[in-house]
């Protein structure tokens, strides 16, 4: 094993030897299991025989609601309209809706990707700060290895942890879904709305897309938490600031969306999916614009973290 891999191994070892880390995975499992039982109790249960009739019935009811209320401004109006559109699309193209089943359940797990961010932020926030609070930083840094390499090994360990957590979410949801519901005969499809109008895509593909696009968000926010940890050596501060950003980031972008500079905000650029669906968040934004902005933020985080960590006196 080369020296650098041993450093990464050390960092991962220190992460996974702690019970609190395993508690995160237990929590992840419980959340997925909980959703599984909710889904079993309340989820739509279409069968290949009855789904057409059910969708037609659903459309009729929605239509009736719309006529009765006659409120074009209400948020319900948009929801009802798009549901009717989607149902019609499914009926036309003979695509069965998502039902209780392993594949569909795996797709639902994408709504828990925020937990992956949460756990990875906690790890990123602690990985440098804890060495300082335990005092172990002294023994760690008196080895014949440059500080920048030690910091890099920690950073890579954080990314690996994030990857492991995301894969765990995927596999746990697939497993829980499969055990609770069994798998659908055919991999179902979701209907999505892009510039060319409605189209459909298999849940397997869509799930992979969502995880992949989310990874950009994950990498940016954990790099940010890691930077705060390396600069301020404070675990709580790092978790706090990063979580605050995670929870409010999109809201802040919405809030300032009428401002010209809003498109330079980090969270206006972390979701690259709209470019592939042809619907950018702000007028005039392009994929290369967002990638440039992301790279600038990333460079700032990295320069701050490495610049300060490698120069500071360890007292």
């Amino acid at each position: 094993m080369s020296n650098f891999f041993k450093l990464i191994y050390n960092e991962l070892f220190k992460i996974f030897v702690r019970k609190s880390t395993w508690f995160m995975f237990v929590a992840l499992f419980i959340v997925i299991l909980g959703m599984g039982f909710l889904e079993k109790g309340f989820g739509d249960d279409y069968t290949s025989e009855n789904w057409r009739a059910e969708l037609e019935q659903e459309n009729k009811e929605l239509q009736k609601d719309l006529e009765e209320d006659d409120m074009e401004d209400s948020p319900f109006y948009d929801f009802a309209m798009s549901t009717i559109e989607e149902n019609n699309y499914r009926l036309e193209h003979d695509i069965m809706p998502l039902s209780t089943g392993g594949w569909s359940f795996m797709y639902l797990s994408t709504s828990f990707l925020g937990l992956v961010s949460l756990f990875t932020i906690v790890i990123a926030a602690g990985i440098v700060a804890n060495e300082f609070s335990q005092g172990t930083i002294k023994l760690l840094l008196i080895r014949p290895i440059h500080r920048s390499i030690i910091l890099l090994s920690k950073y890579i360990a954080v990314l690996i942890f994030g990857f492991i957590t995301a894969v765990s979410l995927l596999l746990l949801s697939l497993g829980v879904g499969g055990i609770l519901f069994g798998f659908e005969e055919h991999i179902p499809a979701v209907v999505i709305d892009n510039t060319e109008g409605l189209t459909h895509i298999s849940v397997l593909k869509e799930t992979i897309y969502q995880y992949s696009f989310y990874s950009i968000n994950l990498i940016m926010i954990t790099t940010f938490a890691f930077m705060i940890s390396a600069v301020f050596r404070n675990n709580a501060l790092s978790i706090g600031v990063a979580l605050f950003l995670l929870f409010t980031g999109n809201t802040v972008v919405q809030f300032f969306s009428d401002k010209e500079w809003a498109k330079y905000l980090l969270f206006a650029n972390t979701d690259l999916r709209p470019y592939f669906d042809g619907k950018p968040l702000f007028e005039g934004m392009t994929l290369s614009f967002s990638i440039t902005i992301l790279l600038v933020y990333y460079a700032v985080f990295v320069i701050l973290a490495w610049g300060i960590f490698t120069r500071r006196d360890i007292a």
């Binding site: 020296n3 041993k6 450093l7 191994y9 050390n10 070892f13 220190k14 030897v17 702690r18 335990q134 005092g135 172990t136 002294k138 023994l139 760690l140 840094l141 008196i142 080895r143 014949p144 290895i145 440059h146 120069r311 006196d313 360890i314 007292a315």
Partner: protein
């Protein structure tokens, strides 16, 4: 000219506008044990932090076997094993896991080597327990173990006796002497207690307010034997009263009598003659000893009152 193991050249550290270390300058040879003594806040730990590369130097340079810690960090620090201040290890890992962790950071450390070190610091029993359940002395032992893993040619121990029981201190003392003698390791030990480390050191450096006040050899025995310098000797003799009279009549020495022990201030050269005279007069001599406090007295003279600036 042979290069010293460790060389401090005009080492200065300023934090803010406070000068913590003021132009430290000394060398340590291979196989030498150097005691680094000073009161609280004198700058011992700060100096050690600079030697191991945890702190930058404001001015000056530190060379390890001729390699500068500033320009040749990796090569220089490879030679060093150290504990800095308290022995802080990963509390949630076992002693063994801690040692493995540090062993992975330097190529070529086998499990056999780790086991060898563990038995050296007598930690076989507790090595698979979590460090958070260790006593202070056990942590100190583990700290010493991690410093020795890679066979360093320079060993730096910041207050290694802190928390050790008398048996532990004696083991460390013997081991340090052996390391210096047999493996030619250069060793720096810091402490505020001179008495604790005096016996394992070849040389003592005294630091106060960031300045090296003096360095001084501990075992200048040849010099001392012929030395005219006066020292305090303790004679345990019966009957003491009579002995005092005899010695006073035959020698020119200051003699005090307290609790049946004579305290005599004289030169080392004269001691054998005094003993012979006393034997001739049929006195019972139980013990003749140098007063330990000579170096210690000097230490306090040099340091004066410990005022932390």
């Amino acid at each position: 000219m042979k290069t010293p193991a460790l060389e401090l050249i005009n080492v200065t550290k300023r934090i803010g506008n406070k000068e913590i270390i003021k132009g430290l300058q000394f060398t340590i040879d291979k196989g030498e044990v150097f005691g680094f003594i000073g009161p609280n806040g004198a700058g011992k730990t700060t100096t050690i932090r600079m030697i191991v590369g945890l702190m930058s130097l404001t001015e000056g340079d530190i060379r390890i076997h001729g390699k500068s810690i500033k320009t040749n960090y990796k090569e220089a620090v490879r030679e060093i094993g150290a504990i800095v201040e308290n022995p802080e290890l990963y509390p949630y890992m076992t002693g063994w896991q801690n040692l493995k962790h540090f062993a992975r950071m330097i190529p070529g450390i086998t499990d056999e080597r780790i086991k060898e070190i563990i038995s050296l610091v007598k930690m076989e029993k507790a090595i698979h327990e979590k460090v958070k359940r260790y006593s202070l002395g056990m942590r100190q032992r583990l700290g010493i173990a991690q410093a020795l893993l890679h066979n360093p040619s320079i060993l730096i121990l910041d207050e290694p006796t802190n928390g050790l029981d008398p048996a532990g201190i004696r083991e460390i003392r013997e081991y340090i002497r052996a390391l210096a003698k047999e493996e030619n390791v250069a060793i720096i030990i810091s402490s505020h207690l001179l008495a604790e480390i005096e016996q394992m050191c070849d040389r003592i450096g005294i630091i106060k307010n960031g300045e090296l006040i003096t360095t001084q050899s501990v075992h200048d025995t040849e010099d001392e034997e012929q030395s005219e310098a006066e020292q305090i000797f303790l004679f345990d003799i019966k009957p003491a009263k009579k002995a005092q009279e005899i010695l006073e009549s035959e020698f020119d020495a200051e003699i005090d009598h307290k609790d049946g022990i004579l305290t005599i201030k004289t030169s080392r050269k004269k001691v054998p003659e005094m003993v012979k005279t006393l034997v001739k007069h049929d006195m019972d001599i139980y013990q003749v000893a140098t007063s330990k406090s000579t170096l210690e007295d000097k230490f306090f003279d040099l340091i004066g009152e410990n005022i932390i600036e």
